[in-house]
Symmetry: C2
């Protein structure tokens, strides 16, 4: 299926910093609750059921592709899907975030964590990828993804969302050996998880380090960076790699050190300044504040143009939000955003 010729390869070209007729755009969490087509499926099936049913995951992945002129699809999945195979119980409580009933906090807990076999533990994800590639039929490339080791570790130590990361940082500071032992295992999980997605046909990989930003630069360097770096060095090099994190703008140099063909940035710094820090030998993805999508359209267009202008016509900019689409975002504004990117970036 990966032999199908891509009709729109602007996204992959931008990942390689090659010239494109327009700036490619996709939006983090582009498949989701802001679309009525999604909510219709969600009425009948739980979130995990949707992830674990290839036909449903494929359908949801395709919804924004059918609705908007996006330049890439991203497989509908969740960064916590590998947890079950690791021996960690995960539930999505109604209207709550993910809840882990057996968080990993002791050395015994860490010893018990298993490295997954993606073909045994997440076969549904790999099937969803194959199904979606067939459905896309070369329309746009498909992105696979994983949580970064730090973000995954924080989740499974905290047992869910967290304000201060007391348990995760507590383990780091009080028993760094235990922290590193856990990160070794998680890093192995992320590598096999991503490689299986590439083997199933995804044409790009993205790592989400959504929580790294709770760390100061030295802690990021010691406790997170080495593992993200190893993931990026170890995965299949046949597809481009996007290294995305949020709230890490004060140590973007360290994020760059972790690697990736593309560095994803949030809206906390200007795209031109971020790219200068990152270096023009890497592509950049970002960086509209997701709240802008609530409108008005005139403001959306102004902000999109500002970001396009800050790319200064340089090849290698992938337009995206600085974080995922927010629940309640008007569908028409998503369309206006995507169309504005194309309009303002066409030579």
């Amino acid at each position: 299926m990966s032999n199908v010729t891509l009709k729109n390869d602007t996204f992959l070209k931008a990942c390689r910093r090659e010239a494109t007729p327009h700036t490619p755009v996709w939006l983090m969490r582009q498949a989701g609750r802001y679309m009525k087509e999604y909510m219709k499926i969600k009425e009948k099936h739980s979130f995990l059921k949707m992830c674990r049913t290839p036909e449903l995951a494929c359908e949801v992945t395709m919804q924004p592709i059918n609705a908007f002129d996006l330049d890439a699809a991203i497989i509908f999945a969740d960064i916590l899907l590998p947890l079950k195979g690791m021996g960690i119980e995960l539930e999505f409580a109604k209207n709550m975030g993910p809840v882990i009933s057996n968080p990993v906090r002791t050395n015994a807990d860490i010893d018990a964590v298993k490295v997954i076999d993606p073909y045994e533990d997440v076969p549904y994800l790999l099937d969803a990828i194959k199904l979606t590639l067939a459905e896309l039929n070369g329309k746009v490339p498909l992105i696979g993804f994983s949580g970064a080791p730090f973000t995954l570790a924080s989740y499974i130590i905290e047992g869910g969302g967290s304000k201060n990361y007391l348990h995760a940082k507590g383990l780091m500071y009080s028993d760094p050996g235990a922290w590193h032992a856990l990160m070794e295992k998680i890093t192995e999980v992320v590598i096999v998880y991503l490689n299986a997605q590439v083997a199933s046909g995804v044409q790009c990989l993205q790592l989400f380090d959504s929580w790294a930003g709770c760390l100061g630069p030295d802690d990021y360097k010691t406790f997170a960076l080495p593992y993200t770096k190893r993931v990026i060095e170890s995965v299949d090099k046949s597809v481009p790699f996007i290294n995305f994190s949020t709230n890490t703008g004060t140590y973007l140099d360290l994020v760059v050190e972790a690697g990736g063909d593309v560095v994803g940035v949030d809206w906390k710094l200007r795209l031109d300044e971020a790219w200068k820090t990152i270096g023009y030998d890497k592509a950049i993805q970002g960086n509209l504040d997701p709240v802008i999508l609530f409108g008005p359209v005139s403001e959306i267009r102004k902000r999109v143009k500002e970001i396009i202008d800050r790319a200064e016509g340089r090849s290698g900019h992938i337009f995206n939000l600085g974080h995922g689409i927010i629940l309640g975002t008007p569908v028409d504004n998503v369309r206006a955003t995507v169309d504005a990117v194309h309009e303002f970036s066409k030579g």
Copy 2:
């Protein structure tokens, strides 16, 4: 009372970048729930009752001063105390954050916002300051404070805490005129509120812009900076001013532009790099991650020493956390932190 000679003026000297025998230290939210003395009062009185009863506010302000070797006291109060006088109803629901039943969202709401008269609307705060100064009897200086205009505006527009600041940013983007009209009023409130505290005897002022970090640099520059700047330019210049914010490290240059004798920084950037960006013509306050205070003590001491070392013996460093003390922080570790600052910074 402000004529009492200070027995320990290291904090004020550091604000003015004068040499001190040791690095002065105080901790944001040093009076609070982590202390059993505080919880004992809290059992009998609501949070607002504590703020509005000068004897109780004084007692709570003194608790950490009596327990630890701190170099400054900060009056026990809340950044939302001016709201009632502005015509905004505020409640602290049990085990919840502050809740505002009539958030400010329309032009009519903004028109109805009143500029307070501190002597009419928060006399209890001014009395608490006078009482505390008498109680301190020159032991250490007393800091007064206010929320920064942006943080206050976000609170009263959102009606409480917020994840994405949809209402606040929504107003900014869809009706900037309304936003600026509201900020004009809030700025006036902050100025008279702070000036009344100085007139009542506080020896330093701190502005808390805890939420500014949700903004990108251009939005901070347009929608927040001008008002913080006006506050700092307009208040009584007889006491030093600390300009504190969090998650603004990617545009620290703009925070500096807003002013202040001292710039407070969180733990997201190294103190030496932050100070270099801020400029050595200003003092700096910070910047330990509050989670470090959970221990172990060996780690606390290591981190305190790192920060002291990064100040490079330069005058004008006030040691503090990067944000407030977290609920559950062990009291003995607070003591260990304060003592380590003194130990490692003594010539």
